[in-house]
Each structure stands twice: as C-alpha cells, then as structure tokens.
Assembly symmetry: C2
Homo-oligomer: 554 residues x 2
C-alpha cells in the first residue's frame, strides 16, 4: 500500500523527476514573495512569527537536553536572544537508535513522502525562515526569501527526486529461474530491501544554512537515514525552524521525531569533531573551510564524507560586444550578498594589451575602470545598495577587505554604507584591486568576501592556463568567460571540462555566474578541490543507502 | 553519430539493462564449455594457446618497460615460466596522460562500445583464460571456465550496463527558459559533458582475478577512465591476457592502447602502495586482506577507494526438513574450490540441544556428524573430489588448516588427496571443528580456506545474535539460515537487513550460498566491514564520472 504522504505528493515528485531528466527550467516553489502567490498577510504573519521567536528559548524539546546554548547576533546589528537546548550526545544518540528501527522499516515511499511533506510545510513558512536567514547570514530580505526559501526548497526537492529515482530502480522482488539442461530448472524468489546507512550528520554553514542544508538533509532523510543537524553557531535559527517542522511531520506520520534532531553549540567548542567521529554517523555533509573539510575527510573514516570547501572562482575576459553590459553583469555578481557566496567570482583575467569590443579597443586599465564604475553605479543609491549587498556576515570578512586593499592598486575601494533601517548593520561595497599574472601568491587563494582582482595577463591563452591551474590546485565552483571568438569559447570549454568546473559563457543579462538553478545546473562538479561531490546528481544520493537481499527456493 | 562499437553491441546492452531492472535469471555469455556452444576444437585451441604462453616472455609491449618480472607457479605444481614487462611508473603515467585526452573526448557511447567489444573478445578466449586461471588460482578446470570465464564476463557486462544506465540519464543539452513576469524570459542553452575521474587502479587478487577484476575494470573503463591493472603476483596471467585484448580493441578503434595497462610486479615489493598514492589515480578497486584494504582507505585519500576485504560468513541451523539435503548443500559450499571463496561459509551455529527435523530430533553432535559425513561422501572419489576442490592456492592456507585443527574437537579432518593428473598438486579436503558459542575469540575472525566451525549455542536466538555481531564487527558477504519456522526466517531476515548482509534461506538444492549470480544477486552490500561497496549497483558506478556543464544565452 502506498504511503499516504507519498500519494499526496506523487504528482509533484513526477514533475521533479521529469525536470531532472530534461534539465530545462522548472520550479516547484514560487520565488515571488508576492501576496498573490503566498497569500494576503503571509509576509506580515511571517515577520510576526520571527519576532515572536526573539529573546526567548526556542520551542524545541530534545531528549538528552541539559542546559542551553545560543548567542546568535544579527549582522544587522542586534542579538537574537534565542537559546536552544544543549544536548548530551550519548543520550541523543541513544534516542536516535530507538527511533531508527521504525523509520528503517517504513521503506522508500514513506521516507520520500515524509520528506516531501516536510518541504511543503517549510515552504509555507518561507517568510518566517527568510527573516531568520536574513538575521543570521546578513542576506538582504528578498535574497533571503528567494535563495533561502523557495530556491533552497527546490534544491531539497531535487535531492528527494534523485534519491527516489535511484531507490525505485531496485525491485522489491524478482523471480529467478535458471535452466539446467534436461533437469528441472533452479527456481528462486529474491527480495531486495533498501536500507539506510545509519545517521547522516549535516554540518551547516553561516552564509547559506538552508540552500546548502536542505539538499543534504533531504538526500539523507529520503534514503531512510536519521539526520542530525549541527548548524553553524551564528546561523542556528533557520535550521532549528526546519528541524522543528520535520519533527512535527514525523510525529504526525507516526514516527519517532528523533529521526531529525538538532545539535546547537557554542562557537569554538569541539562539538562538530565529536559528532563527526561518532560510530553511528555514516554520512557527513559539510560546507565550510578547506581546513575543516579536510579534517573530516581524513578523520571521519567511518562515514562517507561529502564536502564543499573553499575555491577560487574566475572570469576570463577576452573580447566583448558591449563592455557596459559585461561590467553590469560582473558588478552585480561581485556585489550580490557582499560577495559572500561560494560561487562569487574573485579573479578577473584581462590581457595586458587590453581587449576588443564592438565600440573599439579598450586598454587593460579601461576594462578595470569600467568594472569599478559599474560597481559604483550599481551601489550608488544606499537604499538600493543595501538590498543587493545585505550585511557583512562576520568580522573576518571585514578584516579580509582591509588586508586585500594592501595587495595592489585599488580600482574600486570598498565603502561602508549606512543602512536606512538598521543603524548598526555593517554594509560594505566590493573592493577591486589590480594585480598582475606574476602575483600568483596573492590571487591563487580564496579571499572570501567582496574582494575581486583584475589581473593582467600576457594574453587569453595565459588567462585560461592560469584558470585551469587554479581550478585544479585550489578548486572552484564557477568559471566565466567573455569572448566574441568561437575558438576562444571552445578553448574555455575544454579548460572547464579538463579542470572540472562549470562554465558560464558571455553572461550580460539577467543570469549571473554565482546563480545555480535547481533541476538544471549542477552545483559543484566533484571534480576539483572545491567540492568532492556535485549537489545534486546520482552519485550524491546513490551511496546513502544499501540494498540487502534474501533469497529462497520456490 | 553513434559509435560503431556501441551500435554493434546495443541489443546486448539493452538486454542487460532490462535484466538489471528485472533481476531475474539472465546471462549473456554461455557457461557451458560444450563444443556445441563454443565450437568444435575451441577447447583444444584454448589449451594450446595457454601452453604456447608458457616459459617465455608474455607478448605485451608497454611504454616505460625496463626489465621483466613474474614468477607464477601453478598450484597444480609447476612454474609457468612467464615473464612480464616491468614498467617504470613515471614513464607509464606519462604515457597514460598522453593517451587520456582522446579517450576522455570520445564520450560515453565510445567508452561503452569499446568495453563491450573487449568483453566479447574475452569471451572468445574463455578456454585459454580458464587454463590461465586454473594454473594461477588453483580453481578446478570447469569452475575456472565458468566462474572466471562467462560468469566473470557477465559481471563485467553488468558493470558496463550500470555505468551506461547512469551516464545516459545526463542529457547532452537542455534549453532553459525562465519567465520574468512582464519582461522577456531568460533563455539559456546548457551543455552537460560526462567526464571521467582520472586513472582507475585495479588491485587484483590471487583467487578470483577475473571474477573480481572485470566488474571493476569495466566500471572504470566504461565511464571514461584509464585503467591500470595491478594483478596479484601469483595471478598475473589471466589479467595480462585480458589487458592484451583490451589494448587490441582500443588500437583497432583508433585509441591509444595505454588507456589500459598492466603493472606486474614481484611479491612483497611496494608497487601497490606506490601506485595507490599516485596523484593521477582517482579510483582504486581492491580485493584482498583487511589490513591492505584499510591501508588504502586511510592513505590513498586522493582517490575514491572501493574495497572487498575479509569477513566471517555464517550459517544458522535452526530446524530442517531433510538433514541429508542440508548437509549435502553445506558440504558442497565448504568444499567448492577448497573453501577459498570470499563467500564460503565458515561458522555454522547449531543449538546445543540439537534441532528438529522431519525425521525426528537430532542432537548437536548428530548435526555435526551429518555435515562431516556429507563432506566425506562428496569427496570420497579422488577423481571427482579434485574437480570440486581444485588446489590449495598458497602455503598460508595449508598452514591455517594445521592451526585450526588445534582449536577444538575435530568433526571431519582435512585430508590430502592425490591429483590423478598433477602429481605435485596440493589438494586438501575441508576441516570441520567443533566449538562453543563461548569460543568467540576463535571463530570471530576469518580463517580463509577450507575451515569450518560447528558452534553450539544456547538457542537460535543466540545463533542469530552472534551472527549479527559478527557481520557488524567483522564483516560478511553471506549469511545462510535453515529453519522450518516462519518466525525464525523473519528474525533472520531482520538480522540480515539490520547488519547488512545477503541472506540465503533453506538452500538444499543446486544453489549454494557462495554463489552470486550476475544481474540478480548483489555481491556484497557495502553495509558491513567486508566490503565498502556492492558489486554492482548504482553507487558502485555513479562516482566514477563527473558532469561538467557550460551554459550561454540564446
């Protein structure tokens, strides 16, 4: 019998499966925060729900809770004042072990049905979660709504659809009859059971707790694993709300809510390491620094570890039709969420001799100036600027801007902007610094934040050669090329395929290199040091479950 | 345009894909060595081809060869006298790097087409390879023909089919159009390219060089990777012939043959470690000891490592209809290839109070005696016995029999049998020793070879509880249960699914627990310490390639 929650969402799942196969545009959850879509009063109710969470204990009851933790502070300049249960890990894992057996037995349709119901309920709370994301990550509101709401939900759905697509290919049973010449055939009945790996640990990040969190939470949950969510200490709330919703749905569906739990903890303690080394943990999904990611890959050997780490994203400018269009597009990519995206470009390679454009030749310095001017123009109006930039997520970003300023000649300086609503918010515009190809020690590492380098090269061939080396040695999630020459485009495609990085070509309109669309773009390739897996593809889900068979004669 | 080799084998591939989905009986390569199937004179020609290889350099020319290696000795008592090129690894990997670019670009249809053509050609040389396997592993001829020939080829095909099934789901391109309200939609064209991970290293084993080798060789090759085959120093020849065939096909298809290479080496040197740590190696497939497998998992961190290691396979006897039928079946499993199979049972749990049978109660000792008698009866005729047992693969198996004899009361002693044709062959019958559940230190580890323990337990509940613990802590590829009670069967299924091991129920006829059928049975689960992957499932192939995309406006 089909699980009722599977049945409820089956039409949506079928659409998602078709979208994954076609990879054209498709979205399950509308990105517009309009009342026409989410209903009159939804925005206000969401804001009120968020406000109601401030300055009190978060309404989550966990087994093994002893004391509280939590010291989140909005990048817009105020403490959230929310406390979360602090859990004893032994008690928590004992509770999870108890919860697992019913969940394991429920099988793929129940896992997928429950996952889809959780996503549907999360979608209904998109406004509340958007405020939670805004005031933990610093994302501006509309971006927090879209990227951390419907886009993140679409990515969660994508993971569920991939999981289902892999699991449904394992038949429940088979009849096996092997001829034996003149003797009667051998006849067997075989049964195949999809079983989870164990506990999936989700290690959240500060900047994109839900966009990076949902695909991994749902990839593990939809394949029958229990999920322990360990948010970044500065961005607990969005995942805490999501965990609360998951537990509600599990309970209503007759499962033990401890299938999805939250381990909030204080900055700088060793909770992540302790969790990662638990023998029960068989899957770990991590987004964060290369140092922490590599520690997990090296030490958490009882688990399959999926990591998204640092990288150096790059733009190669060879020749353009319309420099203004290019500069507008690149400026937006540098400014969006203060460059605090794992996909934001950092290194912009331009030939030392300049580039050809439809309006004539531009010198190297003119290209840099055009980029700098586009940034200033985009962010000239403070009220509009803060809606693009959002706020600086933490002190280290601000310190990094200061350090980068000293690296070379400044093309566009980073400015502080006052936020019209939040007087203590820290808002910074991008810094653009001029470097030369020889300065590899400066630019061949990640400068996380609104920091870009315009780098003079001998020619586009050298630009592509540096780009290839950077991807291979330092990792990258994105590469972008601007050229009017089909031969250069071909070369760039070859470099991208060889080094293993997604390539965007001649983006001048409303698509930006830092954006990755669910059901169409693969986020990360798994083929370079920035990530050991793509989110999401078959490889990302297929290892989260195993098949156990039994056979007997009939 | 479809690659001609893909086209040639497409009908076979389609059948294989259907077989994988259905998981009923299907085989592409006939297991019968009859002249009616393989042609008049095929057997004789194969034997002659094998004989022609003896006592001379193997006809394989490799870039970077410097000197020779090879000291294989048939377990039937004579040296093969074959030398193989010894290669300088730096020179070899330089040659592979040169070969890779054309192969990478060829794409999935070419990779799959070439793989299938190689398998078809290998099938034609099944007799020659059977002799090579017999005289490196000790398998008796018919088993060497079937298991190392058509069955291994079926398993290679299974891996190719899984690889194709995953790769074909990535579209070549997509058209993406996102509505923008009243503004014109955003329109993009996206291209997706399947790219290999790099070099796949295959570390072969002594006992099943092709049965364990083909699935991994073809899983990596069919996903576009170059493959370096490092055979066990005692079982080079079967893989050397296979590599030779692969290189012939690659050359004929216009590819550089260095896509598939062989690294033969001497026992005890550090070639495996050196290969495993090469930065070019991104996939490692290993079959062998737990110590070596764990070394790879720990140290070869630049690669995805798939391991099949030691385990403790078990039989739980609760109650039976026909003890003679059970004993016959179990005796064959213990005797087949001298118990030198990774799937052969070792621990047989029987309640101390005995068991119920259709013919009345049997005491614990009577069950042990029945098993011992069945072994003696099966192997009573030396001429027939050697065709089941084959030969002892190496000294350590013989030494282990002697050590095990001292562990407890001997139910059936291991005897030496003279081979009618090969006077220096070392043939041994199984040893069966009586132990008690308390002797966990003795039986909770792998005693590789023809060594079985009949272990007295409090009851079947304890038998299953020990079995669960053994699988979880020490790994297992197989579990078998005999019971007339549906409740006990249900419990055994629950234990198998919980611990993650394939279960066979009440085998008394012509199917044996150590046998695993391509396209139907999963070999290994990846869910217990005996193997970190199943051969073959989606997870086994999906991580062997990556997808790299590029996108542009249209």
């Amino acid at each position: 019998m089909t699980h009722p929650l599977f049945e409820r969402h089956q039409a949506l799942l079928d659409q998602a499966l078709k979208a994954l196969a076609d990879r054209g545009y498709w979205s399950a959850f509308p990105e517009s925060p309009s009342p026409k879509v989410y209903g009159e009063g939804a925005a206000e109710a969401g804001k009120a729900a968020f406000d109601a969470l401030l300055d009190k204990p978060f309404p989550l009851t966990l087994t093994g809770a002893a004391g509280t933790t939590g010291a989140e502070r909005s990048p817009y300049g105020f403490p959230l004042g929310i406390s979360y249960p602090k859990v004893d890990l032994d008690a928590l894992f004992a509770a999870i072990a108890k919860a697992e057996s019913g969940w394991r037995k429920a099988g793929p349709e129940a896992w997928v049905g429950v996952s889809l119901e959780i996503l549907a309920r999360i979608n209904k709370r998109s406004f509340e979660i958007a405020h939670a994301v805004m005031h933990t990550t610093g994302q501006a509101f509309v971006m927090a709504f879209q990227a951390a709401g419907p886009h993140a939900q679409d990515r969660g759905l994508e993971a569920v659809a991939y999981a289902w697509d892999e699991m449904r290919r394992v038949p429940l049973k088979a009849y096996w009859e092997k001829p034996q010449g003149k003797n009667p055939p051998l006849k067997m009945e075989k049964h195949y059971r999809v079983v989870p790996r164990g506990v999936g640990l989700v290690i959240g990040c500060n900047t994109f707790p839900t966009w990076n969190g949902y695909p991994v939470m749902f990839a593990s949950l939809a394949t029958g694993n229990a999920v322990v969510v360990k948010p970044h200490p500065n961005a607990i709330l969005p995942l805490a709300i999501s965990v609360l919703i998951a537990r509600e749905v599990l309970t209503e569906a007759g499962f033990d809510p401890n299938i999805v739990t939250l381990v909030a903890h204080a900055t700088g303690d060793d909770t992540a390491q302790k969790l990662a080394l638990r023998p029960e943990v068989k899957l770990i999904d991590f987004t964060g620094s290369s140092a922490n990611g590599e520690w997990l890959e090296k030490n958490a050997r009882q688990a399959q570890v999926y990591t998204e780490k640092a990288g150096v994203n790059q733009i190669v400018i060879d020749s353009v039709d319309d420099m203004k269009g290019v500069a507008r597009n690149v400026a937006f990519s540098l400014a969006l969420y203060t460059g605090q995206m794992c996909t934001a470009p950092q290194n912009i390679y331009v030939p030392r001799s300049g580039i050809d454009t439809a309006e004539g030749h531009l010198s190297f310095d003119q290209v840099g100036e055009a980029l700098g001017e586009a940034v200033q123009k985009l962010l000239g109006d403070p009220a509009r600027a803060v809606e693009i930039l959002g706020a600086v997520v933490n002190d280290s970003v601000a310190e990094r801007i200061d350090a980068a300023r000293a690296l070379g000649a400044v093309i566009a300086d980073s400015r502080a902007i006052a936020h019209p609503q939040f007087k203590d918010a820290r808002i910074r515009t991008p810094l653009i610094v001029k470097l030369d190809a020889r300065d590899a020690a400066k630019y061949l590492k990640e400068w996380f934040g609104p920091i870009a380098f315009v780098i003079s090269t001998d020619d586009t061939e050298q630009s592509l050669s540096i780009a290839r080396r950077a991807v291979r040695e330092h990792g990258a999630l994105t590469l972008s090329v601007y050229s009017k020459s089909p031969a250069v485009i071909d070369d760039a495609v070859a470099v991208a395929e060889d080094a293993g990085v997604a390539l965007s070509i001649n983006l001048t309109g409303g698509v930006f290199v830092n954006q990755s669309a669910a059901f169409s773009d693969y986020h990360g390739t798994g083929a370079n040091p920035a990530a050991n897996a793509a989110l999401t593809d078959a490889a990302f889900v297929a290892g989260r479950f195993r098949v156990v068979q039994h056979r007997m004669h009939v």
